[in-house]
């Protein structure tokens, strides 16, 4: 089974994010890497390819350094990578990104597309569904487990109350939660091999998309800090803690 995995290059989540003058997240000159949420998609793809035979293709859209995210997935074991990078895509919103990813996937054979639930930096969380719609395929989202059997897949789909069991024919798109698997670490051998694996770089024109089709539809008018909350009380003597908490709870009428 041939599996496509969407991955995103994001600024290091442990770092302090900054906004540029255009109110966009500063991505240049900032240490970054593969979104940790996407590693679960890569892991699931590798497991399926190992079980069934077939190839794993990693697809990412982003600035040139985003090839780092693709390479990380390749070093985990994916077979080939595609990076779509184009100046016209700077600041692209969800729909533009969906059009680019759908256009890229259409260029090749696939049985299944895997993605994370949402990116760690933007967290819109609707991109995969938009891609599925553009491709006209079903989408089994928020999977906390994924099994493949006889040309269809079965997932446990996270819900507010528990989970649903969802079965879906292929081709399909599945999004995976962090609970779905434990992503593997790249081995040294994997890291060495990744450098030799084919990685295509595409521009918007390669996908037959116009700049009009990827125009942003949201404009940030301003950013202002939320009024700071007044500092609370800090108790540094743990011995005092129980009485202070009880006093606080009593005042707040919680007890």
């Amino acid at each position: 089974m041939n599996v496509v995995v969407f991955v995103k290059y994001i600024p290091n989540p442990e770092g302090t994010p900054k906004l540029g003058e255009d109110f966009r997240l500063v991505r240049e000159g900032v240490e970054g890497g593969l979104d940790p949420g996407d590693e679960h998609g890569v892991e699931a793809a590798l497991q399926l390819a190992e079980q069934t035979g077939g190839e794993v293709t990693v697809v990412s859209m982003g600035p040139e350094p985003a090839v780092g995210a693709v390479r990380r997935a390749l070093s985990m074991g994916a077979h080939k990578g595609v990076l779509i990078t184009d100046d016209a895509l700077k600041g692209a919103d969800v729909l533009a990104t969906a059009r680019v990813l759908a256009g890229t996937v259409k260029r090749q054979d696939f049985d299944l597309i895997l993605a994370g639930v949402e990116s760690t930096d933007g967290y819109t969380g609707t991109l995969p569904m938009a891609v599925a719609e553009l491709l006209g395929i079903p989408c089994a989202t928020f999977a906390r487990s994924l099994e493949h059997k006889d040309g269809s897949i079965r997932i446990e789909r996270q819900t507010e109350m528990g989970y649903d069991v969802v079965e879906c024919s292929l081709p399909a798109l599945v999004t995976l939660t962090a609970g779905a698997n434990e992503p593997r670490y790249p081995t040294l051998k994997g890291i060495m091999q990744a450098k030799q694996k084919p990685t295509d770089t595409l521009a918007l024109s390669d996908l037959g998309l116009s700049t009009e089709e990827v125009k942003a539809t949201q404009e940030v008018m301003g950013v202002e800090p939320v009024p700071a909350k007044e500092g609370g009380e800090i108790v540094e003597d743990p011995g005092e803690a129980p009485s202070r908490v009880v006093e606080f709870l009593t005042k707040a009428k919680v007890i």
Partner: protein
Amino acid sequence: MPGVWVYAEVSPDGAVEPGALENLTKARGLGSSVAAVALGPGATKAAETAGRFGAETLYASDDQVFADYIAQPAAHALHQLVQQHQPEVVLFSLTYDSRDVAGRLQAKTGSTLMANATDLLGPDYAQTQIFGGSQIVDVTLSGPNPKLVITRPKSFQAEPAGGGPAKVEPVQVEIPDELKKAHRLERQEQAASGPKMEEAKVVIAGGRGLQQAENFKLLDELAAALGNAAVGASRAVVDAGWVPYAMQIGQTGKTVSPELYIAVGISGAIQHLVGMKTAKRIIAINKDKDAPIFQYADLGIVGDALKIVPEITAAIRAKKG
């Protein structure tokens, strides 16, 4: 008749998902006609609640197909309705099903979609918060109608308007077979003990500072002593497999806004803060006195949670007698 629409998830008994009621309340204030769309068993029964919270019209279909297949039938029907009635904006809750439907609808209409909105000032003007809720961002929305907006839960309080039932407009849309592929075979509800996290007056959340999964029982004991308290967790310990995902609070988990939030051994990463910082009062217990969570706490306790939490539990029991 352009207007503001709210996509409302319903249960078979006609109950409306809380986020949809918050959105209806917000929609009323935008000076336009308000309608709700409910698809699936219980939709028609939701007319009373939808009306009470401000919907003049309820587009409803009780068809089981919307419950049996993920998103595609609902997005198809909603798209037809939107084409027919041309609303200016459609509001969605940040739930699993609504996100699926909104994402698909966007690809059909080519409209803008804004997620995680914390306020809506007009049909094309919304706000969101970034960097753990420390910055408010004003965003204008352009492109074809309807604008699609997914709101963060608890961004506004749901308040009934006191109106009568919404006028039900039956939705009659044929769902093609090719949209019946992602089949929901069963629903498993995991019975949680105690109140639901989103509804509890007190939420006690544990993080890495608890050191191991077994120590969550200290929080259960504290919850029992307080009463009407639910126990949640940070992403770190959910990822570590200590507790189920359903307990996760934060960006990728639940958003809670209780009377009191007690953060135990949680440092206060941005991704956690967005899920709890609207709590009315916050107590934080953490070993590291520089932990960011203390900037949000009304009462901060610096020390070892494993030692302090049982002492607090005992003191509360003593006080309650």
